[in-house]
């Protein structure tokens, strides 16, 4: 399995566990009452699961298993792959900070805006980089 796929899949597993733990914490009534920002963590939980876990597994496995681009350059630009990895993960982490921050302090939108930009770049970067590998024989 290529290095980049291993990073995507292992990071995905970390998000899988993290999102489950967060999902449990969200169900504990005393936690919701103690921390003022907890309502903002529901979308964080959902996106850690759907992007952090499921999407990263798909990205990692497709980078590994989809048809080769060419004999000389089977997986396309590895640099683009690492860029997608960075954008998705930095975007998720800034979102995990930005959502509760803007919930408590509405005048602090910067992490959320950075997150939006990074996640968008990661998504578009993945679609663009894998597009040429979605092809017949």
């Amino acid at each position: 399995m290529p290095t980049l796929s291993r990073w995507f899949i292992k990071t995905g597993l970390v998000y899988f566990v993290t999102s489950f733990v967060l999902g449990i914490v969200l169900k504990i009534p005393s936690a919701s009452e103690s921390w003022i920002f907890m309502p903002a963590m529901t979308p964080v939980y959902f996106h850690l699961f759907m992007i952090g876990w499921i999407t990263q597994i798909i990205v990692g496995v497709s980078w590994w298993m989809f048809p080769a681009m060419s004999r000389e350059n089977p997986r396309g630009s590895e640099r683009a792959g690492w860029f997608v990895y960075f954008c998705i993960n930095a975007g998720l982490l800034t979102r995990a900070i930005g959502e509760p921050l803007v919930y408590v302090y509405p005048d602090e939108p910067i992490p959320l805006l950075v997150s939006a930009g990074l996640l968008w770049l990661g998504g578009i970067g993945y679609a663009a980089s894998i597009w040429k590998r979605v092809k017949g024989k």
Binding site: G98, P109, L119, G123, I124, A127
Partner: protein, 139 residues
């Protein structure tokens, strides 16, 4: 990869990019309010990523990778999987654009019925292709 899988997976990638774009707009709106109408895009964001991205990808990869039949047509009835593609994507577009523009329950139900029909169609297609190693089945 068979050409029908190429259609499924590329369509999935278009929904993925569209869903992420709408998601980024919604996230920006949370930090810097743009317009209250932005929230009307939320059902489309969910629809494009759940059904558009995930189902098209799963159907496309399954059509490509599941064990093949021993005789032609080796991947089963092509017309059935083409119908699944058309039903799924017409259903997704009907549901998402109804949610954004009309909020008309009739169109949403029609779209959901198309998606359900595509799911049934795909299950009928895939069922005979799920068998143990070394045991070919003929549809």
């Amino acid at each position: 990869m068979p050409s029908l899988s190429v259609w499924f997976v590329r369509t999935a990638l278009i929904y993925f990019a569209s869903g992420f774009t709408v998601g980024a707009l919604l996230l920006i709106h949370k930090g810097v309010p743009l317009s209250p109408l932005i929230w009307r895009l939320l059902p489309a964001h969910i629809e494009w990523l759940f059904a558009g991205w995930m189902l098209n990808l799963v159907f496309g990869v399954a059509y490509w990778m599941l064990p093949r039949h021993g005789i032609e047509p080796i991947r089963g009835r092509l017309w059935l999987v083409r119908s699944v593609f058309i039903l799924l994507n017409t259903g997704i577009l009907t549901v998402s654009f109804s949610e954004i523009f009309f909020r008309e329950i009739t169109f949403i139900v029609i779209g959901r019925l198309m998606e359900a029909a595509s799911a049934i169609g795909f299950a009928i297609h895939a069922w005979p292709r799920i068998y143990p190693f070394g045991q070919y089945q003929v549809r």
